[in-house]
């Protein structure tokens, strides 16, 4: 039966692909404002207003909004910064908290009705955030240990027999300089990309089966697909928050690693 379905799909169903992530300009030809750009601007404003309102009248007995804001900030402060870096990590909490909330907002726009596109699935945004993190942890490391000391501690950690350095040093250098920002970028981008693609497949495929293929089999299979898309939406929301957490956690760990004098 499944091959039968697939054959029927092949005739009329256009499965979603990378092309669904390219948007035309909203205001017609010649302009450059696209949907992801609008989502970024909107979400930046939402984050700014959220933090402004939650911190505006800070009271000893917090209001509802202040409570939410303090919990988010406290989560990043205690669960990420202090755990991964230590007491010194308190200096980096503003950056980490901003990063966390910004990524969550951009990710979660993938499941907000009418927006429904995770802006972080366009590679430019995670790449830019990863470059900021890269600059910060390298800068912090070089300032703490000196230029030579930073690279010596990175490439030649003590307590290892010297032949191992032949293998270890290039790996550590490439890993720190190139692989870390690259994986930070790709992890966030393609998690959002793949998640959005799966959601599209379930919704569009279900819609095709129910309304265009029809018949008992089509409606039954399409209904399962559409119901599954609801479950997947919640799963996507979970993944989106988790990935923001992972991005910030890794940034904090890299900063923490750069601050440690001896490995």
């Amino acid at each position: 039966m499944s091959t039968h379905l697939l054959a029927a799909e092949g005739s009329g169903f256009q499965s979603p692909g990378p092309g669904d992530f390219e948007f035309p300009p909203i205001f017609g030809e010649g302009t450059f404002v696209t949907k992801p750009m609008l989502i970024i601007v909107l979400m930046t404003l939402v984050v700014a207003v959220f933090f402004y309102l939650s911190a505006r009248r800070a009271a000893a007995v917090p209001g509802r909004l202040q409570f939410v804001g303090e919990n988010v900030y406290g989560f990043v402060r205690n669960q990420i910064a202090v755990d991964a870096i230590g007491r010194e990590g308190l200096r980096f909490v503003p950056y980490l908290a901003t990063l966390f909330v910004f990524i969550v907002a951009l990710n979660i726009s993938g499941i907000i009705p009418f927006l429904q596109f995770p802006a972080t699935s366009r590679i430019a945004i995670p790449l830019f955030l990863a470059v900021i993190s890269w600059v910060i942890y390298n800068f912090v490391g070089i300032r703490r240990q000196g230029l030579v000391g930073y690279f010596r501690n990175m490439m030649f950690p003590s307590g290892i027999p010297w032949p191992v350095y032949i293998l270890l040093s290039p790996i550590e250098l490439v890993s720190t300089v190139l692989i870390r920002p690259l994986t930070l970028t790709l992890r966030l981008t393609f998690n959002m990309f793949a998640g959005h693609l799966v959601l599209l497949l379930f919704v569009l495929g279900g819609e095709f089966l129910v309304f265009e293929k029809g018949g008992v089999v089509g409606i039954a299979a399409g209904s399962v697909s559409l119901l599954g898309s609801i479950v997947l939406t919640f799963f996507e929301g979970f993944v989106q928050i988790l990935q923001a957490y992972v991005f910030v956690l890794l940034t904090a760990l890299y900063i923490g690693g750069a601050l440690v004098e001896e490995h």
């Binding site: 697939l6 991964a84 790709l186 992890r187 981008t189 793949a194 992972v246 956690l249």
Partner: protein, 67 residues
């Protein structure tokens, strides 16, 4: 049937990270079951390991679309 062999290759490539992530969370669950009060410490480590293992699968899907 039409399609790209890339996707078959990606499916095969995802086996490795899949097994890896399974092992990581199996160890995490084992650890929490034996010592529930260590949950907070283990959680961060488990998610870190998950993220590192997942990077392989993510690079795979990136290459599957790019190549």
């Amino acid at each position: 049937m039409t399609g790209s062999l890339n996707m078959v290759g990606y499916g095969l490539a995802a086996i490795g990270p899949g097994v890896g992530i399974g092992l990581i969370f199996a160890a995490y669950i084992n650890g929490v079951a034996r010592q529930p009060e260590a949950r907070n410490v283990l959680q961060g480590i488990a998610i870190l390991g998950f993220a590192l293992a997942e990077a392989l699968a993510i690079i795979g899907i990136g290459l599957a679309f790019a190549l």
